[in-house]
């Protein structure tokens, strides 16, 4: 059965239950050709389940899966033509690097000569041209990762599925592999679905990100949209560091609102539609200014409670005289830390840098912080 949708991968209303747990809850997703799409979310939100339902390892309770417009919901994994890279690589230990990469081609009954040729080309692509005769256990983690990638790519699958492929690597190698992976993906032009719970990784690599929570998608968008215009407190808090202040809306015009937070009147710019009386103000720490030279829309007197020196920047934990707790991020000055703990500072931010989000009932990843403002 063919159904032209124009997407390489589409999930429609996919539901998967494990006993009482809804791992996927009427989950829908569309990934376009050549897109680098990331599923991002906290542990247990259903990312792996979503990926495995695309690969065909999961019997769904409801919903449909389409690959290149063809319905594959009932097709077993070996007939779906997806490439998958597992978290711990899952290389065949009893086969050499070349044999690992050749495996998929052998299953497709590709002629021998062509296999050798394509294996060689793919190993060159992942920059492991001279490792063909080695066994997986003779490779480092990063090298195994590349072999796993080569093995998945060599068969030219419809979509490449990656489940936290860099999870087992150290930070430095991780960053190098991120760049490498992105380069490969562009070079091959393959549609890719990437699973991670690392928001930084998601932001740097993806064309689009789906932020997931409890088996559902909270928001889909480009990294910029997700970071700059989160549509819920959950997304705002999950992506990067953010101040979330709960308050009562005391008045709003088209592009301006005022929120009462512990008696302080805070001005807010961006309004995403309807405004409920109870709402959350979201403000990135890097938008908060300490002792600004010119007066800003918002201005509070506060004390530096605690500070974290991050090398290239300093994170200040502040408490205003009203009792509002805020974080501010400043680039480290040449002289080092500008304000010591215990100093009094003036805290300011422009109203358009803060946004008003609906108060969600869903739990926040770092929940308690929401209450601090009110």
């Amino acid at each position: 059965m063919t159904l032209a949708t124009g997407n390489d991968v589409e999930l429609r209303g996919v539901t998967k239950r494990y006993g009482p747990i809804l791992a996927l809850d009427t989950f829908s997703l569309q990934v376009g050709a050549g897109e680098f799409f990331t599923l991002l979310g906290p542990s247990g939100c259903g990312k792996t389940t979503a990926l495995r339902s695309i690969a065909g390892f999961i019997t769904l309770n409801a919903g449909e899966v389409f690959l290149k417009g063809t319905r594959v919901t009932d097709l077993p994994p070996h007939r779906r033509r997806v490439g998958m890279v597992f978290q711990h690589y899952a290389l065949f230990p009893h086969r050499t690097v070349a044999q690992n990469v050749a495996f998929g081609l052998r299953m497709q009954k590709v002629p021998k000569g062509e296999i050798a040729d394509r294996v060689e080309k793919t190993l060159a692509l992942v920059q492991l041209p001279r490792y063909a005769g080695r066994f997986p256990r003779q490779l480092s983690g990063g090298e195994q990762q590349r072999v796993a990638l080569a093995r998945a790519l060599v068969t030219r699958p419809t979509v490449l599925l990656l489940d936290e492929p860099l999870g087992a690597l150290d930070k430095k190698l991780r960053e190098r592999m991120q760049v490498e992976l992105k380069r490969l993906q562009r070079e091959v032009g393959i549609t890719t679905i990437y699973v991670t719970h690392d928001q930084e990784e998601a932001l740097t690599m993806s064309d689009r990100i789906a932020v997931m929570q409890s088996g559902r998608i909270e928001q889909v968008g480009t990294p910029l949209e997700i970071y700059e215009c989160p549509q819920s407190a959950f997304v705002a808090d999950f992506i990067g560091n953010i101040n979330l202040l709960r308050g009562t809306v005391i008045g709003h015009a088209e592009h301006q609102a005022a929120v009462d937070c512990r008696g302080a009147k805070l001005r807010i710019g961006a309004l995403p539609g309807a405004v409920a009386p109870e709402a959350v103000m979201a403000l990135r720490p890097e938008k908060v200014r300490l002792n600004p030279s010119e007066p800003l829309d918002n201005d509070l007197a506060a004390t530096v409670v605690h500070l974290v020196y991050l090398g290239d920047s300093v994170l200040y934990h502040l408490r205003s005289d009203e009792g509002i707790e805020l974080q501010a991020l400043e680039l480290a000055q040449a002289g080092g830390v500008r304000h010591q703990a215990g100093t009094r500072v003036r805290v300011g931010w422009r109203s358009e840098d803060a946004s008003l989000l609906p108060l969600t009932s869903s739990p926040l990843p770092r929940g308690e912080r929401l209450g601090e403002g009110g």
Binding site: A55, R80, P93, A102, E120, A132, R151
Partner: protein, 300 residues
Amino acid sequence: MPRGVGRGAEPPSEEISEGPRLWVRLALLLPFTAILALFFTVPLVLMAVISLSRQSFARFEWALTFKNYVRFFSDPFYVGVLWDTLWLGFLVTAAALLLGYPLAYHLARTRTRWKPVLLVFILSPLLVGIVIRCYGWMILLADRGLINGTLIEGGWISRPLPLMYNQFGVGLALVHVFLPFMVLSLTGVIKRIDPALLEASMTLGASPARAFWEVTLPLSLPGILAGSLLVFSLAISSFVVPILLGGFKVYVLPIIVYEQILSVFDWPFGAANAFILLLISLGIITGYIKVAERALRGLV
């Protein structure tokens, strides 16, 4: 198989294994080595010496002669028994492997909470004394036993099927008791195969059957090897079961050894028999390991 792909581009890198120091390893080996030397090597050497000596009038004289070995290999009866013994060992091993593999696979992969119960079931043949176990089989297999009795009673057959006092009966009872060794050897190895490997092979286009053949089976080879070596050596040295269920119609070398030493009192010839069995089975096992090692390259 694209075995040759990329060969010769660069030799596989040398592996350097870091282990405990030499004296630590020796110290750890010492207690077992001592026991082995005292209760195994010494009697073995003694037996070798005896097998090379001469017997006259129920007393043996120290000598150095290969007479006993020549006698064995020039008598078709003994050579035939040797052959039967090895053949029985092979059949029992093959049957235990074929029956044991699915069992072991299930045991390794199942997540039921009844696992301990399953394990007890699998070990149950070892929990019953050997004689009782054999009489149990006799009740089932004898000419007027449960199976033949029922079949004759029901009119399906007129003469009893030859289930006992032949290789079939002996083999059946041996498979029964040695199956646990096979299953346990296999289970441990299969359990350690990462299920993600199967999934990986499936995303690469292998059907479940193909995935088993390409991944699970080769990766369970160490277990197959260990299990078959255990079962084979146990089977060719078994003695009570062939006597009870073979009724002296199935001759294996251990029976001959027993008779020579305890009935005929020809110790040198009995010892030679035992030694021949030992050397030949060692030869077979070594050959088997050599072949297996080649298949296992890259696994361990």
